[in-house]
C-alpha cells in the first residue's frame, strides 16, 4: 500500500468523508462511478413504469401524487449524475453506455406495470427495498454520494408510505376487483423486489473491496433479510399474501425464513431477457436521440447569447 493509499484508507476507517478533490485509488473512483451512474440510470429508467400509468391515474389526487413522485425521481437522477460528475465522469458518456447495454440499472424496472395497484406496490416494495439499500449508503465514504443519499432517502420514504397507503386504501375500502389487483400486483413484484439486493453473498464478486472502502456497508443477504423482516408484517397488515409458501417466522433465528430465489430468472433479466429490458432502453435511447437537436439548439443559443454579452461589454 502506498502512503497515499494508506492515508486514504485511514480516513475511510475513521469515517471521514472522501471529497472530490481528495486523492483516491483509481479503483475506488471507478467503482463509485459505476455504482452512482447505475443508481442515476435507475432513477431515470424507473420513471418509465410509472409513466406507464400517469396518464391513466384514476383520480386527480392519485395523479398529482404520481406526478410529484416522478418529478422527484427525475430530480434524484440529476443529483446523482452531479455526484458522479464530481468523480470526473461525463454524464453523456455514461448515458451512452446505458443505451449500448454496457451500463446497468436496477433490474426491477424491467418488469411491467400491469395494473393500477402496481403504483402502490412499486412505492411500497420497490422503493422500500431501495431505501433499505440507501439508508446504509447515507454513511457511504464518498461525501457527495452520501449527501445525495440523505436527501434522496427522505423523499423515498415519503414515496414508500404513499405507495403503501394506496394499497391499504384499496384493501380496506376497495371492491373485490380492486383487492384482486393488489394481490396480483404483489404476486408479480414480490420476488423481483427480493432480487433487488443482488446475488447471494457467495456469488457477489465485488463486495469485499467495497466493504473495506465503505462504499458498501452491509452484504446483499443481510440487506435482503432486513427488508423481508420489515416487510412481512406490513404485508400481513394489508391482508395480503406473498407468493412464497416457505415464508414464515423463525423464532430461533429471530428472522423470517423464505424460499429460494429463482436465480435463473434473475440472471436472465440481467442478460436482457426481462419482460421490458428492450422497451425500457429503446424508450430512453429514442428520447435522447430525438432530443439531440434540442440540446444542440440550447447550446448554440447559449453560445450566441454569451457572444452578444461579450460584444456589448
Amino acid at each position: 500500500m502506498s502512503p497515499e493509499e494508506r492515508a486514504f484508507q485511514e480516513k475511510v476507517d475513521a469515517e471521514i468523508k472522501i471529497e472530490p478533490k481528495n486523492w483516491m485509488p483509481e479503483a475506488y473512483r471507478k467503482t463509485l462511478i459505476r455504482q452512482i451512474s447505475q443508481h442515476a440510470h435507475s432513477e431515470v429508467v424507473g420513471m418509465l413504469p410509472e409513466g406507464n400509468w400517469v396518464t391513466r391515474a384514476p383520480t386527480l389526487k392519485r395523479k398529482l401524487q404520481l406526478m410529484a413522485k416522478i418529478q422527484d425521481e427525475a430530480g434524484h437522477g440529476l443529483y446523482l449524475y452531479s455526484a458522479m460528475e464530481t468523480l470526473g465522469a461525463d454524464r453523456d458518456e455514461e448515458i451512452q453506455k446505458l443505451h449500448e447495454g454496457k451500463a446497468k440499472y436496477s433490474s426491477i424496472f424491467n418488469y411491467p406495470t400491469l395494473n393500477w395497484a402496481d403504483m402502490g406496490t412499486v412505492g411500497w416494495l420497490v422503493d422500500g427495498a431501495a431505501i433499505v439499500n440507501q439508508v446504509v449508503l447515507q454513511r457511504t465514504s464518498y461525501g457527495p454520494y452520501s449527501r445525495a443519499m440523505i436527501r434522496i432517502c427522505k423523499e423515498e420514504s415519503f414515496h414508500q408510505r404513499q405507495g403503501y397507503q394506496i394499497l391499504l386504501d384499496l384493501m380496506r375500502e376497495g371492491t373485490a376487483e380492486q383487492k384482486a389487483m393488489v394481490q396480483d400486483s404483489i404476486n408479480r413484484f414480490w420476488w423481483p423486489s427480493l432480487m433487488m439486493f443482488g446475488p447471494s453473498d457467495e456469488h457477489s464478486p465485488n463486495s469485499q473491496q467495497s466493504m473495506a472502502w465503505k462504499i458498501k456497508r452491509k452484504s446483499n443477504d443481510e440487506l435482503r433479510q432486513m427488508f423481508i423482516d420489515q416487510t412481512v408484517p406490513q404485508l400481513e397488515f394489508l391482508g395480503c399474501t406473498a407468493p412464497d409458501p416457505d415464508l414464515k417466522w423463525n423464532a430461533e433465528r429471530g428472522h423470517y425464513d423464505f424460499g429460494e430465489i429463482d436465480w435463473n430468472e434473475f440472471y436472465e433479466v440481467l442478460k436482457g431477457n426481462g419482460p421490458c429490458n428492450r422497451e425500457r432502453i429503446a424508450t430512453r435511447k429514442k428520447a435522447i436521440d430525438e432530443g439531440t437537436w434540442v440540446r444542440q439548439a440550447a447550446r448554440a443559443y447559449a453560445v450566441k447569447q454569451q457572444q452578444k454579452q461579450q460584444n456589448a461589454a
Binding site: 431515470v44 420513471m47 418509465l48 410509472e50 409513466g51 400517469v54 396518464t55 391513466r56 391515474a57 384514476p58 383520480t59 386527480l60 389526487k61 392519485r62 395523479k63 398529482l64 406526478m67 410529484a68 416522478i70 418529478q71 427525475a74 430530480g75 437522477g77 440529476l78 449524475y81 393500477w116 394506496i166 386504501d169 384499496l170 375500502e173 376497495g174 371492491t175 376487483e177 380492486q178 424508450t283 430512453r284 429514442k286 428520447a287 435522447i288 430525438e290 432530443g291 439531440t292 437537436w293 434540442v294 440540446r295 444542440q296 439548439a297 440550447a298 448554440a300 443559443y301 450566441k304
Partner: protein, 258 residues
C-alpha cells in the same frame, strides 16, 4: 337578482373551461414522461404538468360546488365525454416534436398568464384566490416556455426550421383563446373574466416580441382560426386522450376509492 343564477351558470361554464384546458395540457405533458430531450426537461415538464393538474383540481372543486355538489372534481374530470369538455383546441393537439410541445406551451402560457392576471382581481374571493396561487406558477411556466421559444428559434438552423413549422401549424388554434363568446363577455363585465380586447392585445404584444426575439416569422394577422373547443366541438384528438385518461373510472364504476 334574476341575473344571479345566470351569472353562476356562466361562471361554472367558465371554470370548466379553465379547468379542462389545464387538465388536458397536463395530460399531454404526462405523455412525455421518460421521453423528454434531457433529464432536466423531464423534471421541468412534470413540474409544469403538476401545477396545471393541481390548478385544474382547484377550478373543478369550485365548479362542482357551484353546480350544487352532485358531482365532485373527479367526476368532472373522469366522467364527462369529449363533447362535454370545454378545453381550448390548442391544448389537445399532439406533442409532436419538442418545437411543437414548446410552441403549444408558450401560446397557452401567454394566454394563461394574462387571464390569471385579470382573475386575480375578480370580485369572487374563491376565483381570485385560486388565480393568485396559479399566477405564481404560471409566471414561471411562461418564463420557461419563452426561453425555449428563443433557444429553439434562435438556436441552430434545424431548430429554427422546426420551430417555424411548429408556430405555423399551431397558429390556427390561437384565435379561439382571444375571442370572447357570450359567456366570457357576460363574465368580463362582472370582472370574472378578462376583458377580451385587453387580453388579445397583451397576448399579441408578448407573442410578437418573443417571436421576434426568437427570429421567428409572425404568422399573418388575418390567418383563419379554428373554433369550437370552448363549446365542446373538438378535434379528433380529444376522444383518444379521454379514453386513456378515464379508463379506470370507466372500467370500475363501482369503485368508491382509489
Amino acid at each position: 337578482m334574476t341575473q344571479q343564477p345566470s351569472q353562476d351558470q356562466a361562471l361554472q361554464e367558465y371554470l370548466l373551461r379553465l379547468a379542462d384546458s389545464a387538465l388536458i395540457l397536463g395530460q399531454r405533458l404526462c405523455e412525455l414522461c421518460g421521453k423528454a430531450p434531457a433529464v432536466e426537461e423531464e423534471m421541468a415538464l412534470m413540474n409544469v404538468a403538476l401545477d396545471l393538474v393541481g390548478q385544474a383540481r382547484n377550478w373543478y372543486d369550485y365548479a362542482a360546488e357551484l353546480e350544487g355538489g352532485q358531482r365532485d372534481a373527479d367526476a368532472l374530470a373522469y366522467r364527462r365525454d369529449a363533447h362535454e369538455f370545454r378545453n381550448l383546441l390548442l391544448v389537445e393537439q399532439p406533442n409532436g416534436d419538442y418545437a411543437v410541445t414548446m410552441a403549444r406551451q408558450f401560446f397557452y402560457d401567454a394566454w394563461h398568464y394574462f387571464t390569471l392576471q385579470a382573475l386575480v382581481n375578480a370580485p369572487d374571493e374563491r376565483v381570485a384566490g385560486i388565480a393568485a396561487k396559479a399566477l405564481k406558477e404560471v409566471t414561471y411556466h411562461l418564463r420557461r416556455s419563452s426561453e425555449w421559444m428563443k433557444r429553439l428559434g434562435d438556436g441552430t438552423e434545424e431548430s429554427h426550421q422546426r420551430m417555424e413549422v411548429a408556430v405555423e401549424s399551431l397558429w390556427r388554434f390561437t384565435g379561439e383563446m382571444l375571442t370572447a363568446d357570450a359567456v366570457e363577455q357576460h363574465l368580463a363585465t362582472a370582472g370574472l373574466a378578462p376583458d377580451a380586447e385587453q387580453l388579445a392585445a397583451d397576448w399579441q404584444g408578448l407573442v410578437n416580441s418573443v417571436l421576434t426575439e426568437a427570429t421567428l416569422s409572425l404568422p399573418p394577422a388575418d390567418a383563419w382560426m379554428q373554433q369550437g373547443g370552448k363549446t365542446g366541438r373538438h378535434t379528433e384528438h380529444l376522444g383518444f386522450i379521454l379514453a386513456e385518461m378515464q379508463f379506470l373510472q370507466r372500467a370500475y364504476p363501482d369503485a368508491k376509492i382509489w
